[in-house]
């Protein structure tokens, strides 16, 4: 891997971890509804997906979850398990929608945001073994639209400034 790319990816990873932690300080997104968040860290993942490749984005996403897990909640805590489920589904869905639909980066971002939430809900259902968590879905979907647009917009702007 060329050094420039390697350095950039490392910095981006660091950025995504920081964004993730910063976001958890915003009180409203710290628990009002489980799974509800802006997903600022997703700007980085989305950027890598467009700028580099699916493989890189996937690696970055998994590493991010692991790092945040180590730094904040403990590696095998329920919260990390959550994020892992969300992140994995989100990155795969973003890749698929980028490749197979004509959605712009904003649309792809919305897809990512929604699937992140749905991924978390699926993990939650598996963990608690109770289907009622589905009742959160409309709130999460509703919120995924503005946050998806925001994240998509930021990534789009970022892409303009980066060059190989």
């Amino acid at each position: 891997m060329e050094i420039k790319k390697f350095t950039r990816l490392s910095m981006l990873l660091a950025l995504s971890v920081v964004l993730n932690i910063v976001e958890s300080f915003i009180p409203f997104f710290n628990g009002t509804i489980p799974g509800l968040k802006i997903g600022l860290a997703n700007t980085v993942i989305l950027f890598v997906l467009y700028f580099y490749s699916f493989k890189d984005a996937m690696t970055l996403s998994i590493l991010r979850v692991l790092l945040v897990g180590i730094l904040r909640t403990g590696l095998f805590s329920i919260t990390s398990l959550f994020s892992f489920g969300g992140a994995l589904i989100s990155i795969v869905m973003m890749f698929l929608s980028k490749k197979f639909t004509k959605l712009s980066i904003i649309g792809v971002s919305i897809i990512g945001s929604i699937s992140h939430a749905i991924g978390q809900i699926i993990v939650a259902i598996l963990l608690v073994k109770n289907i009622n968590i589905v009742y959160y879905l409309p709130w999460i979907l509703l919120f995924a639209i503005p946050s998806g647009i925001l994240v998509g917009f930021i990534s789009k702007e970022m892409l303009k400034y980066f060059k190989y």
Binding site: N30, G31, T79, V128, K129, N130, I133
Partner: protein, 121 residues
């Protein structure tokens, strides 16, 4: 945003509306009960038809979960978990609402009693 983005937005909105219709149609004026589940087992059922204030304790994965019943509403007032998500969520009272304390694997759900269709005398 291009055309397909807008179409995506429309689809999502429709899905949200449909889900909302389904959940809100569950709203009912029938007498309600708060059902407390640990994993999938019903561990406590609290009748919400009177105005009394009461607290209940159930065992969660990480320790005791204290539930307060205040008239027709319930909330979690004390629990041991990293983010205290469910105690921050406050009261719930409608039959489509749930309180979920994931680290403790506790789910609190409001259930309306089923209607009796007819009575044989």
């Amino acid at each position: 945003m291009n055309k397909s983005d807008k179409i995506l937005l429309i689809i999502i909105t429709i899905i949200i509306l449909v889900i909302c219709c389904i959940t809100f149609s569950k709203k009912s004026d029938l007498p309600k009960k708060a059902m407390v589940y640990y994993q999938n087992d019903l561990v406590l059922s609290i009748d919400l038809t009177d105005d009394s204030v009461n607290t209940y304790e159930v065992d969660g994965l990480l320790g005791k979960v204290v539930i307060e019943k205040n008239g027709s509403k319930v909330r979690v007032i004390e629990e041991n978990s990293p983010n205290h998500i469910c105690s921050k969520q406050g009261y719930i009272e409608e039959s489509y609402e749930v309180l979920i304390c994931l680290p403790n694997k506790i789910v609190i759900k409001i259930e309306a009693e089923e209607k009796i269709d007819t009575i044989v005398k």
